[in-house]
Amino acid sequence: MGDLLAALGDYTLRTVALGAAVLGLLGGALGTFAVLRRQSLLSDALSHATLPGVVLGFLVTGTTSGSGLMVGAAVTAALAAGLVLVVVQRTRLKQDAVLALVLSVFFGVGTVLLTYVATTGASGQSGLDRFVLGQAAGLVASDVRVMAVLTAVALAVVALLYKELKLVAFDPTFARAVGYPVRRLEALLTALLVVAIVVGIQTVGVVLIAALLITPAAAARQWTDRLAVMVVLAALLGAVSGAVGALLSATTTDLPTGPLIVLVATGIFLVSLPARALRTRLGARREVSARRAKGVGVR
């Protein structure tokens, strides 16, 4: 406990914890829509698809700092998203096959590019590895500021288009029938997903960023049936996972932050699992007492 309190006073740690919390917030809020639209694993495919972009960004700019890598990551992730969309819409292949294919091929091309960078012997290439497993400890205040701004923008978009996104998440056919631009809204949600992934890979890495988008949202789903509550709750649970994971990793020296954040989120999810059953039972009891009060017979 003393460690924890001492750690709270530490500037670097506060930065890392804050960054992880912001990331969890963003992941939870956007993940809600991904989970409800059965697009959970899209985030996994897109995060793997950032690798070739990161390496290309490095090859073009020649440095691992700066926004070149982020832009590259966003470009190849968006390319992958477009490819998934085209193949699923135009052929008889189903989403999961396309996701697995895109994920492995993009990542494979990324590793080919990594070996190419190694043969050119460019300096500073070692920084590229951190994208695979993430390196939260490397977060600095300016990173966190960028993350916070992007998160604010993404959340503002969600808040502004809340009604439309809700309809698209639950009943896209109806949304199309009443004239909403469903394609564009879906593209927007995917674009926001790409933003969240690009913001997150530095911190938790390519493989585990999917957890920040899926697990808090799935946990929140157990507690509520209302979308607004779910978005807020998922964002909160994500933020808590991020902060707690970062703090835990600071108390012991050799525990990496990314996996800890994911494990905290998974723990929250496991604790949440009984909530749905509990809710159903409570709901049934409430219904029974309501019926009694009305004098209606109980089955």
Binding site: L41, R92, S104, T111, T115, A211, I214
Partner: protein
């Protein structure tokens, strides 16, 4: 033994079971389970290492296989009762287990020779270096033995249960009526997928396994319509991609596994664009033909109602089309 031979044969031994099982998974829409298993096996490998203190071939594969099966069971458990949808369940389980694996390596792996990157990406280039020795006798590359056993098991499974696989995949309802137990076939299939993924990623790395599971099968699905032909096509394209990928990687001295995955992607893109019936180009051409034919019928119909000697201008007015458009169609049909 030549290095090239060992690597190419290993790759083909991985391709055969991956392409066969991948075809079934593509049709059943559960390819991502393979991806999940390949990541979730990590803690199994680490725990097996801690328990036995060595990274022997059998301990690693056994530990990974246990966690592979655990993944399938956990995903099924979460899905049951509709608590979590299938894709979310897969995402939660594999990220959680993978995080656990990374944590175990970081916490206790300091004094242990367990290289995470190797476990994750594997490196098929090392296949010739790892040989199986029993009682001091060199029995050849270890990967040949692991993947050979897996390949034989999968081929036997597909041959013996061909009919059952086909019926349970395409029509689970009919399968139940016929007494074929889709559940049993599903569990057998998942167990084999688990063993294949784990055995293969010991030899070639997780990413290439997923590429071989999804790529050749998806390519075949775009090219052919019969299940048996699809299986053969998948194995053929997979083996071809592996060989070409290896040659390119040798020429340019780049990552072999990555290059093979890249070639799998190129082959898929080619089939996607140029496939004879389901390809994008063929579909666009067919669409154009349909439109042309419809236009011709509309013009004939308009001519019928206006009168045989109708001028282009009259037809254009009747159809509310631009004159040039009608001219083109009339030139084609007369």
């Amino acid at each position: 033994m030549s290095v090239d031979l060992v690597i190419v044969v290993t790759a083909i031994l991985v391709v055969v079971p991956c392409a066969l099982l991948g075809s079934v998974l593509v049709l059943r829409q559960s390819v991502m389970v393979g991806d999940a298993i390949s990541h979730a096996a990590l803690p199994g490998i680490v725990l097996a290492f801690f328990l036995t203190g060595s990274l022997g071939p059998l301990t690693a594969v056994a530990g990974a296989a246990v966690f592979g099966l655990l993944t399938v069971v956990l995903v099924d458990l979460l899905q049951r009762g509709g608590r979590v949808r299938g894709d979310a369940a897969i995402g939660i389980v594999f990220t959680g287990l993978f995080a656990l694996g990374v944590l175990l390596i970081a916490r206790y792996g300091g004094n242990v020779h367990l290289d995470l990157e190797h476990v994750l990406f594997g490196e098929i280039a090392f296949a010739p270096l790892v040989t199986l020795e029993v009682g001091g006798v060199d029995l050849g590359p270890r990967s040949w033995w692991t993947m050979g056993v897996v390949a034989v098991a999968v081929v036997t499974f597909v041959l013996l249960l061909y009919k059952e696989l086909k019926v349970t995949t395409f029509d689970p309802g009919l399968a139940t009526v016929l007494g074929l137990s889709p559940v049993l076939v599903h569990q057998l299939l998942m167990a084999l997928v688990s063993v294949t993924v784990v055995g293969a990623f010991d030899s070639v790395g997780a990413i290439l396994v997923v590429a071989f599971l999804a790529g050749p099968a998806a390519t075949a699905y775009l090219l052919v319509d019969r299940f048996s032909v699809m299986l053969a096509t998948a194995v053929g394209t997979g083996a071809g991609s592996a060989v070409v990928g290896y040659l390119l990687a040798r020429v340019w001295d780049l990552s072999i596994a990555g290059m093979m995955a890249g070639v799998v992607g190129v082959v898929f893109l080619t089939a996607l664009l140029l496939g004879p019936r389901h390809g994008l180009v063929a579909a666009a051409l067919a669409e154009r033909r349909r439109r042309t034919r419809l236009r011709e019928r509309l013009v004939r119909h308009a001519r019928g109602s206006v009168g045989e000697g109708a001028t282009v201008a009259q037809l254009a007015e009747r159809l509310h089309w631009p004159v040039a458009e009608v001219e083109r169609v009339v030139a084609r049909i007369s």
